[in-house]
Point group: C2
Chain length 287, copies 2
Amino acid sequence: MILLFAYTDNEQQAISLAKEAGYELGKMKIHHFPDGESLVQLETNVRNKNVILFCSLDHPDNKLVAIMFFAQTAKELGAKSVGLIAPYLGYMRQDQRFHDGEALTSNIVATFLSQHFDSLITVDPHLHRHTSMHEIYTIPVKIIHAADAIAEWIKGNVQNPVLIGPDEESGQWVTDVAKKIDVPYIILSKTRRGDKDVEISAPELDKYKILTPVIVDDIISTARTMIATVKHLKEAGMNPPVCIGVHAVFAGDSYQMLHSAGIMKIVTCNTIAHPSNAIDIAYLLEY
Amino acid sequence: MILLFAYTDNEQQAISLAKEAGYELGKMKIHHFPDGESLVQLETNVRNKNVILFCSLDHPDNKLVAIMFFAQTAKELGAKSVGLIAPYLGYMRQDQRFHDGEALTSNIVATFLSQHFDSLITVDPHLHRHTSMHEIYTIPVKIIHAADAIAEWIKGNVQNPVLIGPDEESGQWVTDVAKKIDVPYIILSKTRRGDKDVEISAPELDKYKILTPVIVDDIISTARTMIATVKHLKEAGMNPPVCIGVHAVFAGDSYQMLHSAGIMKIVTCNTIAHPSNAIDIAYLLEY
């Protein structure tokens, strides 16, 4: 029997998963003291249970400390095992030292999570320079792919789509989604000049002008990549696009900015709880 | 040769210590990405150096992640050793499970710091149920006491003081300070009803009415203990007190509230950078 706990942000997804998979739901409290310290309390007895914590790791810094408290406490109180479901796994993009002396945070966080948890389930982690999770994780990692769910959603909701991959990193992945539902696709290329400054160049778009462009990317964070892509499609005379992201990070006011960029719709998977969630993947996250 | 780095908040104290102790000062950057992730960059070469990070652990949750990034990166880049100077050491008060299922965070944080750092220097850690740092830390810990510096400050700045310990926990400590400068002292007793709700009871104060009360405590956090003590002294007809804290945590608006409570002055040691700092202890933090 699995006992599933949820970090505050992820209670809805956890309830949905528990129902689907027949897990028992555990109760926990996270209290923030006025001095900036946190306290985690496991209100359900974990002794001899296989315990799993559902905690998506967007905006991760505070959460990393809280989930360490959770995992260590569950072990001290006799849990048989402590697993983590982190549908969005932060810190995967700092996968090399881009400048001398920089922390290789993808690896440090992988070591940290491997030390505190016995296993990990995540959705489409941002693997770029790392080709496999086993390069950096020492615990079993199960990767769930959102491609089928996204392909199904496009098939059911968009007439005459053409899929747009905003950069080479998303290329393989967008190609897969397009092939699943047998629709055309284009992969653009991206130059990043800073956290919030992105330029897009694209091949000939003319022949797709009567179709509905569907931009698909793994992470929408500052949304600068999406917005630059939307602008580029507009300049090329394309229809307003549907924007699909697996992970709705949406830093700062990026959601509002993308909304105002001349799009038809923003749709995301519920790996991170967000108003744009329309594609349910929570039920897929079974151990 | 020691190479000393400072977390943003603690640059002034680190400069003062480096000057006193003849340490080389290292340069580091902490960048916060718009998505809530952080990046630490060591701009000074650490190879074969004994590296120390100066980072006081008030409001610790974000800092714990950043200092883990610092320590692991310093080690990966060839530092001979990586020590931590944390004049204020957060999470020392959760030293037992006050309710079932609570995380014993004093111990978890001690394990975490012991794992990432080779040694620790701190100032008057809040030891209550733990009687020694070695119960929870597996690395060498050097404790610096602020009592001498506080005693000197009182001697030089307050005429006819009577020292007030607001509760039994501060008792031994206030007694020590009082004896160093041969002044009278009283230890009150405290009942805590919640994070921000504190009641004070005190013995006969009449005979000290002509003296200047000096309330001394280790941590001023919500300041509710200090404020309840100030109120009690006022009701007993005492003079407006000088309030001294070792650690100026000052959660939320507590500094303003203590200021408005009818006091003469608030004075703290510079274990945490704060406008109330008047007692320098940074130069004492030598390895």
